[in-house]
Amino acid sequence: MTPPGNETETAPAGYRPSTLSALAAILAKDLRVELRTLQSVPAMALFAITTFVLFRYGLDRESLSGGLAAGVLLATVLFAAILAVNRLFVAERDEGGFDAIRLAPVDGSALLGAKAAALVIYLLVLEAIAVPAFALFFMDSWAGVPPLFGVLVLADLGLAATGVLISSIAANSRARDLLVPLVLLPLLVPVMIAAAGASRELLAAGGPSYDGVAKWLAVLAFYDMTFAAVGFAVYDYLLED
């Protein structure tokens, strides 16, 4: 909104915004909406912390390390991610965002890319809250936490790649809340395997070990690339009417 009297450059006719700038614009819009409405991230954080308490009683443990710690933390993050994935495309479907992107002179991948980026950001914010909470509740030493974030970033990318795919399929169907967890969870098993494989070393009782962490990170990276590639290949068909 430019104040009257200001000279601004108007775009020349036939101006086509680049995919990246469109992506940034959609991402900015989503983040602004999220900041204003606070729909996804607080819910995810609360869910995660409550789940930790459930695990404390379910497992009857006050301290966790190694494989058990990795499992509790990652399972919680995974389920919290489902909450966000469910909501990713709801607004677009309700407010006609899909039509808008189809009509705009912009590549459809901008929408999917923006949604994936938004999901990664939500997950990182969630993890910034949940991982310290987890360490507070269950861990004796915080030494493993910083390298853990490296694992989590790669896992988040994988979550985003498949989450966006499934979310856009489910957004246009009935029973979408049911469909997302149903279809997404099996797809995320390799993420769990690899992330847990790396995390159990990092969260080991005697302090983080880096045994074999690299190979799990490689698996995560491979997963991320594979499903990003699939997403790139099929996004047109997902956005079609």
Binding site: A170, N172, S173, P186, L187, V189, I193, V230, A233, Y237
Partner: protein, 249 residues
């Protein structure tokens, strides 16, 4: 190369499978470690390989459907996945029987092939509710194709991940699965595998022929009885063969 007819495929499958099973029980030697139980291997592993290959074929048809827009590819994708899921049930049950015979437990996590298969099966089982949840025919077909492609890419990735997760400390239960097979066992295995693969192809074409017949029947009914309330070919969830497609032979 002329594509062999359904009848020829079915005959070939029958012959090969019978020959294969005969080899299993009359020719293949007894395994040193597992004894007679190892004979399940000749059933379980070909079922698994054909099922996994079938899922990937479903993904390939999904790609074809998206690229050409022709509904016949979606039907083929659906049938491929459907039959592979059925084979998958066989894999899980025979694997479980094998596990119980070997370990006394109905399920083992030590066998990466079986575990990775469970995950793949769980994924493809969601194919049906996914299709059911999308009412618009075209969109259902398109999204099902996207799913078939995604899941097809998932199969090898999942297999690798599960394989890596198995600690090398645990001995592989089904060690003959990839240990050096003596020649006679290998021959038996290959014949069984070929027979199973042909069985899969024959059943897929059988199902496609049935769908084609149903679709033609609907067209005939519409032509004879006029434009009455005839439901679109195929059920809500399973696509029917489009009228433009020629019948599968």
């Amino acid at each position: 190369m002329k594509v062999p007819s359904l009848r020829d495929t079915a005959i070939a499958a029958t012959l090969l499978l019978c020959a294969g099973f005969a080899l299993v029980f009359f020719y293949a030697p007894l395994d040193v470690d597992q004894g007679f139980i190892q004979k399940i291997f000749y059933l379980h592993v070909p079922l698994a390989i054909c099922s996994l290959a079938g899922f990937i074929v479903g993904g390939i048809f999904g790609i074809a459907h998206l690229r050409t827009g022709k509904a016949i590819h979606d039907v083929r994708s659906y049938v491929s996945i459907h039959l592979s899921v059925i084979f998958g049930v066989g894999v899980l049950i025979t694997g479980s029987i094998w596990a119980h015979a070997s370990w006394g437990k109905w399920w083992v996590w030590d066998e990466p092939t079986l575990v990775s298969f469970l995950i793949v099966f769980l994924l493809y089982a969601t194919y049906y509710p996914l299709r059911y949840a999308i009412e618009d025919r075209d969109r259902q077909a398109r999204y099902a194709s996207v799913f078939a492609i995604t899941a097809g890419a998932f199969v090898p990735l999942n297999f690798i991940a599960v394989r890596m997760a198995e600690s090398l400390v645990h001995p592989r239960v089904f060690a003959t699965a990839n240990g050096g097979l003596p020649g006679s066992m290998l021959l038996t295995f290959i014949v069984c595998l070929a027979g199973m693969a042909l069985l899969w192809v024959a059943l897929v074409r059988f199902e496609l022929a049935a769908k084609s017949a149903s679709a033609s029947l609907s067209r005939l009914r519409r032509a004879i009885e006029g434009e009455t309330q005839v439901p679109a070919s195929g059920s809500r969830i399973a696509p029917g063969v489009p009228s433009s497609a020629t019948s599968a032979s």
